[in-house]
């Protein structure tokens, strides 16, 4: 008998409650999208950073005469393999001659670029290699 009682559940209450709840659930859904975007952005930054750091390690262990250390801009047209997104790695090598303050060395700028939707992203690292 008590279960059949509909006291406290007026139509206006239900409609109002549904409306408020809908706004809340919609907001939560939108926040979920933002969380996912934030997490994806974090993952992309970590990947790009690791790609650049790995390249620095690779260049550090190469001989001065290696092709990868010739003074020019090195870049590949194809994206790096092993990643869900397309990351493009490029590095610019400049031979810096010795002067009173600086010994001769190679100035190397490394860039990792990627694109999400219509937005371009880039991470840059500056490094020097002694000759």
């Amino acid at each position: 008998m008590a279960l059949k009682s509909e006291a406290g559940l007026t139509l206006i209450e239900v409609v109002l409650a549904m409306a408020i709840l809908s706004i809340g659930v919609l907001a939560l859904g939108m926040m979920q999208v933002h969380f996912a975007e934030g997490t994806a952005r974090s993952r992309q930054l970590v990947h790009a950073t690791d790609i650049a750091v790995n390249k620095i390690e690779e260049l550090a262990n190469l001989d001065e005469g290696h092709d990868d250390l010739q003074a020019k801009t090195h870049e590949s047209d194809s994206p790096l393999e092993g990643y869900a997104l397309d990351y493009f790695l490029s590095w610019e090598v400049e031979d810096v001659a010795a002067d009173s303050d600086h010994p001769a060395h190679k100035a190397i700028d490394i860039a990792v670029k990627w694109r999400t939707g219509s937005q371009d992203h880039e991470v840059n690292f500056h490094w020097r290699k002694g000759l």
Binding site: M31, S42, H126, R128, K129
Partner: protein, 212 residues
């Protein structure tokens, strides 16, 4: 205060009203309970949302810190390479140690360690150091150097840091060089302390260099 007064007034009104004298009966009135439950659920959802936003923001901060750390690590490494090249080129066994000491004293960021030792500096660990027995990289107190980084001095003279590029003013290094002659050779040892503080990061690398 006004709110409390109204409640008290409402309660006393109910108490005086014969329809509401029974408190238990008034508790059984369920009007508005659905709305109340919905609002509670909404508040819970809001808290979940705030917690989620905090997690996402923290995650992004961690990633940014990771990026800044790696960036500064590369720059500090570049500074060490820079110093190492200069030391390798200039600390040579075919040059008199006194000439080399002058060469070092006249270069920003490079300091003869004997001056540091003679000054009984806090940056030097021992007062009875024997250069023939203990290499210089065991003797420099890196923590003390880093603690005084912006006000480093020897004998009252400010130490000027060196930089490998004017484009990277946040990356600096200082090199303490020890040059001495033995019967057979001139030996050069150096400690490079590089520090990079770009974008609020702080990476310090200590490297020992030897040349003979």
């Amino acid at each position: 205060m006004v709110f409390i007064t109204q409640i008290t007034w409402g309660f006393s009104m109910r108490k005086n009203n014969p329809k509401h004298t029974n408190v238990a009966a008034s508790l059984q009135n369920e009007n508005g309970s659905t709305l109340l439950v919905t609002l509670i659920v909404l508040i819970l959802i809001t808290f979940m949302g705030i917690a989620g936003v905090n997690t996402a923001v923290t995650d992004l901060r961690i990633t940014r810190n990771y990026l800044i750390h790696k960036e500064n690590l590369a720059l500090a490494d570049a500074a060490v390479n820079h110093a190492a090249v200069w030391a390798d080129d200039n600390i040579r066994s075919d040059v008199l140690s006194s000439v080399m000491a002058d060469l070092i004293e006249n270069k920003d960021g490079f300091y003869d360690v004997v001056a540091l030792w003679d000054a009984d500096s806090d940056y030097f660990k021992e007062s009875d150091w024997n250069r023939n027995l203990s290499p210089i990289w065991n003797q420099i107190d890196v923590d003390a150097v880093v603690a005084d980084w912006d006000t480093l001095e020897i004998n009252g003279e400010t130490i000027t840091h060196a930089s490998f590029s004017s484009d990277e003013p946040d990356t600096e290094y200082v090199v303490f060089v020890c040059i001495y002659s033995t019967d057979e050779d001139i030996i050069g040892e150096a400690v490079v302390i590089a520090r990079s503080r770009k974008n609020g990061g702080n990476v310090i690398i200590e490297a020992g260099l030897g040349n003979r």
